[in-house]
Symmetry: C2
Subunit: 341 residues, 2 copies
């Protein structure tokens, strides 16, 4: 029996499983410490296509196709796809999946989209609406910089608080078929706005939303941070990580011992000049698909709270002087001991 | 017991209800035949704010607030909000709902977003994940034209196949509490791409997706078009309506007797110079909230298939020579005879 927990959470009666996952990433990511965990990396930022946007779509297509293969099923077994990216009107997702003939729910949660997709995917499977669905999220450094900031050719300077958008896509088959990783529950985030306006300090924009959803998850389930082997945020980077831990400690919650941030892990930030860390929907999605799930699958980590974080801005809202609110969604991912077959 | 039906549909065991709905629209809509059914209309396209975008957010805020009021509940009773709009990174929704302190799922399905939101909202309530949720969608003529086409000041000519983006927001409280309108099931659309590239003929881009999802709904439930009092598409306009009816008749499905399109209904298209009809997420959302639900609530219409339609493009994909694929989501809205209390 699925159960509403507290103010913002759901605990699944029959937790859905992650049956297969794939991470596909770009050239900058090859030099990062996560590259060896990814299924596929490309030296070519356009993935053999004519533009960054088409390249991002190609990356989406590859990640979804690989995840389905790795789950040992076929495309026809997938009932829905929950997908999103950072580009206006979700063109990376649209053109990546348009020929797959799978019903689509397009999602936008900025860089929290992987958490939003996994939440809705697991809610859908746990409710019995589908046997297998896909959750997917992507971002691309070239297409994102072009859209949100400056032309790459301009070579603008970046403050140390800035993050580097990950070129990557992570795709997941969420299923009612048993595997060694399950999704026990989800905590859905509210929009949190502390009034930050600096689009080159997204960690500061997102940290309050991450703090709020982590705090609420612990409240709703009546647990302490040590319940989890890791509490893993999406792309706060170094600046955001400090703010997150400060905000939580003000509420007497200490996650410093088991907090990890995908943005900090994905690059060698000093050497690779990525400053505060990696960011983008693809950051948490690829680190989850490539690295975190292996740790959970093997049982090295029993329980992980996965918390992708998003900064809600557009160039229009930014140029009109609006703040940059944040959002974050928490997904409880746990090791599952498979019964003997 | 909720039930998977056929390839793309769900039939709800305990159908959720629409407990309250509100339609808020702008100045052009005041002169259209639907204005008298709307809850609120504004002579001012910025709704008292400084920009079209902020005006759109204000419209969202008003529609959501009104829908909650009309449902006879309070904000604290709402567990999730499913919302989306046409603007890059969903800024209209974000800034409209950011202070409501309700967990958010941001959605993008172009002008099909109202169908996507109602589908996920009803799936969420029918699964027992929430007692009350909001589904909401908006669009704004000024903010959409500025983003997708030309500056309004340029005064470009528009071909007769073009549609006019509706300034409007429709919000719905989907609930497990009985009312006289329920959602019996949903059929979720795939992306359909017939290779059309004309962004000033969106009816042609979307009609194939509408035809596919209507056909699939009839197949999945084993019913004929006459099962419904009305089959109501979102914003195909006159051009798209003809194509839709032609495509379906090629598959021996005749909906000409009971087809209606919100884009054709919302304006006096000849007099108001809106050419093929109204469009935008707000078109189907306001016509549903203001007009269709009154007909279903009164029992004049017993069963309606509501099919918002979306054209998946951005200026980037368009300028890079991509096609404009379509998507549509079908929601089965039915009159419910309330038991005596």
């Amino acid at each position: 029996m699925n159960e509403k927990k507290g103010k913002q959470s759901i605990k699944f009666g029959n937790p859905p499983y992650i049956l297969g996952a794939a991470a596909v990433a770009g050239p900058k990511e090859i030099d990062g410490p996560m590259a060896r965990y990814f299924d596929r990396v490309s030296e070519d930022a356009t993935f053999g296509k004519d533009s960054w946007e088409e390249g991002e779509s190609e990356m989406v297509r590859q990640a979804v196709t690989l995840a389905i293969q790795k789950a040992g099923i076929v495309k026809q077994d997938i009932r829905y796809i929950f997908a999103g990216d950072l580009l206006g009107q979700l063109i990376a997702s649209t053109f990546g999946i348009k020929d797959m003939e799978i019903p689509v729910f397009g999602l936008y949660g900025a860089c929290s989209t992987c958490g939003e997709a996994l939440s809705l995917a697991s809610m859908t499977v746990a409710a019995g609406y589908a046997d297998n669905v896909i959750a997917e999220a992507s971002s691309h450094y070239g297409s994102a910089e072009k859209q949100f900031r400056f032309p790459l050719e301009y070579g603008n300077q970046r403050p140390l608080s800035a993050t580097w958008t990950v070129t990557g896509s992570g795709a997941f088959v969420v299923s009612d078929r048993e595997s060694d990783v399950c999704i026990q529950g989800v905590t859905t985030g509210q929009i949190v706005d502390y009034g930050v306006k600096d689009s080159l300090n997204m960690g500061a924009c997102m940290a309050p939303a991450a703090a709020a959803v982590i705090y609420q998850n612990l409240q709703d389930f009546g647990i302490k941070p040590t319940y989890y082997d890791r509490i893993i945020t999406g792309d706060l980077g170094k600046v955001g990580k400090t703010i997150l831990e400060d905000l939580l400690s003000m509420n007497n919650v200490d996650i410093s011992a088991n907090h990890m941030d995908c943005g900090i892990e994905i690059f060698e930030n000093e050497e690779q000049d990525t400053h505060s860390g990696g960011s983008g929907c693809g950051c948490s999605a690829t680190v989850l698909a490539g690295y975190i799930l292996k740790k959970v699958s093997s049982g090295e980590w029993k329980r992980v709270l996965f918390v992708p974080t998003g900064a809600l801005l557009s160039t229009v809202s930014y140029n009109e002087g609006q703040t940059i609110p944040g959002i974050a969604h928490a997904v409880m991912i746990e090791h599952h001991e498979k019964k003997g077959e």
